[in-house]
Subunit: 134 residues, 2 copies
Amino acid sequence: MATQPLTRNQILVLDALTGAEGPLSAYTILDKLRDHGFRAPLQVYRALDKLRELGLVHRLESLNAFVACTQPHDHHTDHGVTAFAICEDCGQVDEMHDAGIEERLSVLAGVRHFKTEKTTIEIRGHCQNCSAAE
Amino acid sequence: MATQPLTRNQILVLDALTGAEGPLSAYTILDKLRDHGFRAPLQVYRALDKLRELGLVHRLESLNAFVACTQPHDHHTDHGVTAFAICEDCGQVDEMHDAGIEERLSVLAGVRHFKTEKTTIEIRGHCQNCSAAE
DNA sequence: TGCCACACGTTATAGCATTACGCAATTGAT
DNA sequence: ATCAATTGCGTAATGCTATAACGTGTGGCA
Ligand SMILES: [Zn+2]
Ligand SMILES: [Zn+2]
Ligand SMILES: [Zn+2]
Ligand SMILES: [Zn+2]
């Protein structure tokens, strides 16, 4: 029941993501970790799978890339719905949680008797900084 | 200003999507159209790009696949935000438009001064039929 | 005629993800 | 202690998704 400690590979991958400015693809992570002994994509994907299970990492579907979770909430518990604002210019990702969205989506699914397993919300656009810079 | 007619390739791809039960990957479309002279992925991707510009086709990011638009609205005009409910069992996709979601997302972006270009919403789960069948 | 825009065809390549196999360490009975 | 089951790890091979780069042909138009 106690949170199992992360393995060496999982820590390496998580650190790579945490230290990055923006989302990283699995192959970019692989390249960053070659010096630490990584040689094959599967080492990255296996670590990512576990980290996602634990809620420490999210996958951005529209980017085929991954980010570390930035929310301080308990990672044991369910995240609920997460929305991402992704800047096309600087790559910055903002993780957002909003009860209103969650509620509205729940209604949409409800009227259709659709059982939701996982919801993806990704907003592509330009962050405040990059908009200001024109 | 008049809507330009679709090219032969675009019609073939659109028909393939319209006739399909669920979303199709670009390579699946390619295979379906080999008999009609298609030989390379680019033929499919180019048609898909155009069809998406015209609002006739949507890309499902979480699936790397494409569906024909099922909404009867004018395709010249902007779609607004589209949400998809995707059944993991039967592959059926339900295209949804909801002002509530749109409004809430707009607020989320607004407070961050984030300029939205494109929004992806995809709900993965089980449709009514497949839930009933257990 | 010369120019431009656009769709098309082909080949090659890049980028993302998984399958399959085998080994080692751990755990938890029997 | 021994066996079986689980889990993580390493490696190689493969498969799926998408784009780059090049050239052709056609129609509109100055
Ligand atoms: Zn998170
Ligand atoms: Zn930015
Ligand atoms: Zn549509
Ligand atoms: Zn279904």
